[in-house]
């Protein structure tokens, strides 16, 4: 290797080392992964590969697919066979104990796309399966449930004396056998809860939570600080009569889960930055906007708030094609962050946004200001072309 080649090789190695130090590759890779998997699972892609893409969320063959692929078998097709299910350890059978360890959750995936995640130390069994559903017994602990909605979906969860009939929804289900305490927190959709001590099924909608017990009130634990109840009318009617007699359900506590907007009102700065990035990369513009606005208002003056302002403008321009809004955000950055690290880019993009929305006078003003401040900046050519028109 000649001297010049050796020099270039060493130069390249130094540049690569500096890049490694400058970026946070593992964090960037992790961030992109989360967004990628969410988009692949939740957003079917319409193009030549659509038939393949649909199968990603229509069918999960579980561990059986691993074996099938190892043998070079063809793709999974929906059949009349009952759903199959598997954990990371492999395929499991009806009746097998599903036990999460002390320090890790246990995901369980089903071939029709639904999934469970047993919380640490939780224990459950799949009692029965059918083509579009299953019957699951939660013996203890809590489980996150995500059931894929289809017209014929039929999932049944049993927790103590309570049953939860599911059509397509996400929720967290809990059962504490020592305390005879049933809990349900709905993330989305609607379920119907029935039980030996319920006069009629109780409907719980997305955002709602309930805790129920068929035990005597004296046997119940002290309720946690209760939040205002938000229940359906049917649930309220079912609990209007005295609930102290043996076998009657006791409503221990009920509260509505915080929405994403509410969570943003109390999240830390770091959480808001993380959520905004996650939602933006996943394509959830509205939620990303919520987190970014929270950063701006709750942490005004911080560099993160400044970056949030810039990112709002960038999202408005690139993802929403709302050039007026984009111009407004870029102008806000220029005004609020006169020495900010994104000043040059904000001032330059302001020109573009004004130009794109057809605001000739706005574009001229922005162009003059830009050339005055950044005569050799990356947007100076654009600015000068507008000034010369």
């Amino acid at each position: 290797m000649d001297a010049a080649r050796t020099g270039l090789k060493a130069f390249g190695e130094r540049a690569q080392a500096a890049l490694e130090a400058e970026t946070q590759p593992s964090e960037q890779i992790r961030l992109a992964r989360a967004g990628l998997l969410e988009r692949v699972i939740n957003a079917p892609r319409k193009h030549a590969g659509a038939a393949v893409a649909r199968r990603w969320y229509l069918g999960i063959a579980g561990a059986a697919a691993v074996f099938a692929l190892a043998l070079g078998l063809a793709m999974f097709r929906a059949t009349d066979a009952p759903v199959a299910f598997a954990t990371q350890s492999g395929e499991t059978k009806i009746g097998d104990v599903l036990q999460a360890s002390e320090d890790a959750t246990l995901p369980v995936t089903f071939s029709e796309g639904s999934r469970l995640v047993l919380h640490r130390r939780a224990r459950a069994r799949v009692l029965d399966t059918e083509p579009l559903g299953a019957r699951v017994l939660l013996e203890g602990g809590a489980v996150d449930v995500a059931v894929v909605h289809r017209p014929q979906t039929h999932w049944l969860f049993e927790a103590g004396p309570f049953r939860v009939l599911v059509r397509g929804t996400e929720f967290e289900l809990g059962w504490q056998p020592e305390q005879q305490l049933f809990s349900l927190h709905m993330k989305s959709g609607r379920v119907e809860v029935s039980g030996a001590c319920l006069h009629e099924p109780k409907t719980v909608d997305g955002g709602g939570s309930v805790q129920l017990s068929c035990a005597q009130p004296s046997e119940l634990p002290h309720p946690a600080s209760a939040q205002p109840v938000q229940e359906s009318a049917a649930a309220q009617a079912a609990e209007s009569e005295p609930a102290h007699a043996a076998g009657k359900p006791v409503h221990v506590a009920s509260s509505a889960a915080p929405s994403f907007e509410q969570s943003c009102e109390s999240a830390s700065k770091a959480e808001l930055v993380s959520w905004a990035n996650r939602e933006r990369l996943a394509g959830h513009v509205a939620r990303a906007r919520t987190a970014l606005l929270a950063l701006r208002t709750r942490f005004a003056g911080s560099s993160e708030a400044g970056t949030a302002t810039f990112t709002l403008g960038k999202m408005a321009f690139e993802q929403q094609s709302d050039y007026a809004q984009a111009a407004s955000w870029f102008a806000a950055y220029v005004k609020e962050q006169p020495n900010g690290p994104l000043l040059g880019d904000a001032a330059g993009r302001l020109i573009e946004a004004q130009d794109a929305r057809g605001d000739r006078s706005g574009a001229l003003r922005a162009a003059r200001a830009y050339v005055r401040r950044f005569p050799d900046g990356p947007y100076s050519a654009k600015a000068r072309s507008i000034l010369s028109e």
Partner: protein, 203 residues
């Protein structure tokens, strides 16, 4: 979030699994090849804050076009070629929008911005300022071969060009870059023995 079932198998099995819709295959594809793709993007573009977006875009494009891959052994090279395509498109898009700048918005060049806090950071900025001035094909050749460290065949494949064409682009890029780099004091510490550069050909 549920962790998808682990996929087990070589790249051939992985591609078949992707085409068959195995849910763990997407995660396996990403985990197996994301570091290399990220490295290629980063080498081409520098420390760009849009890298996570671009990384995602590369894999989405790959999943969209997985049916086109006919040689399983070329999976990584194929992914890197998509990365190069994505980076090239971004560079051209930014050039159309803002003349020369290809820095991340967070590192936009501004005479009034604070200088980089470290020598390495300054040198890195200088490197990519020089690369900005090269034609995009020559830039890619230099970035993949010199900075990323790909072999000539790997880099040529990533650029979807013949080895001969790639070598010509690389040679032009090296000449132009070295000539410009010698005028940049911030890059001198990175150059292994400054005289070696001015005494090219003298061994």
């Amino acid at each position: 979030m549920v962790t998808p079932l682990k996929f087990v198998g070589d790249d051939r099995a992985l591609v078949e699994a992707l085409r068959a819709g195995h849910p763990g295959a997407v995660a396996a594809l990403y985990e197996r090849h994301a570091p290399a793709v990220h490295r290629a993007l980063r080498s081409a573009l520098g420390p760009d804050a849009d890298l996570p977006d671009l990384l995602q875009e590369v894999f989405l494009r790959a999943l969209d076009n997985i049916a086109e891959l006919d040689d399983y052994e070329r999976l990584r090279g194929w992914l890197c070629s998509i990365a190069v395509f994505t980076a090239r498109a971004l560079i051209r898009r930014r050039a159309r929008r803002a003349w020369l700048s290809v820095f991340s918005p967070q590192r936009a060049a501004s005479q009034e911005q604070a200088p980089p806090s470290t020598e390495a950071r300054l040198a890195l900025r200088e490197v990519y300022e020089l690369l900005d001035r090269l034609p995009v094909d020559e830039r890619m050749a230099f970035a993949l071969r010199i900075i990323d460290g790909m072999t000539l065949p790997e880099a040529a494949e990533a650029c979807r060009t013949s080895l001969a064409t790639f070598k010509r682009r690389l040679a032009r890029a090296e000449r132009a870059f070295v000539q410009a780099a010698e005028q940049r004091p911030a890059l001198l510490p990175w150059l292994e023995g400054g005289t070696r550069w001015t005494q090219r050909g003298q061994g």
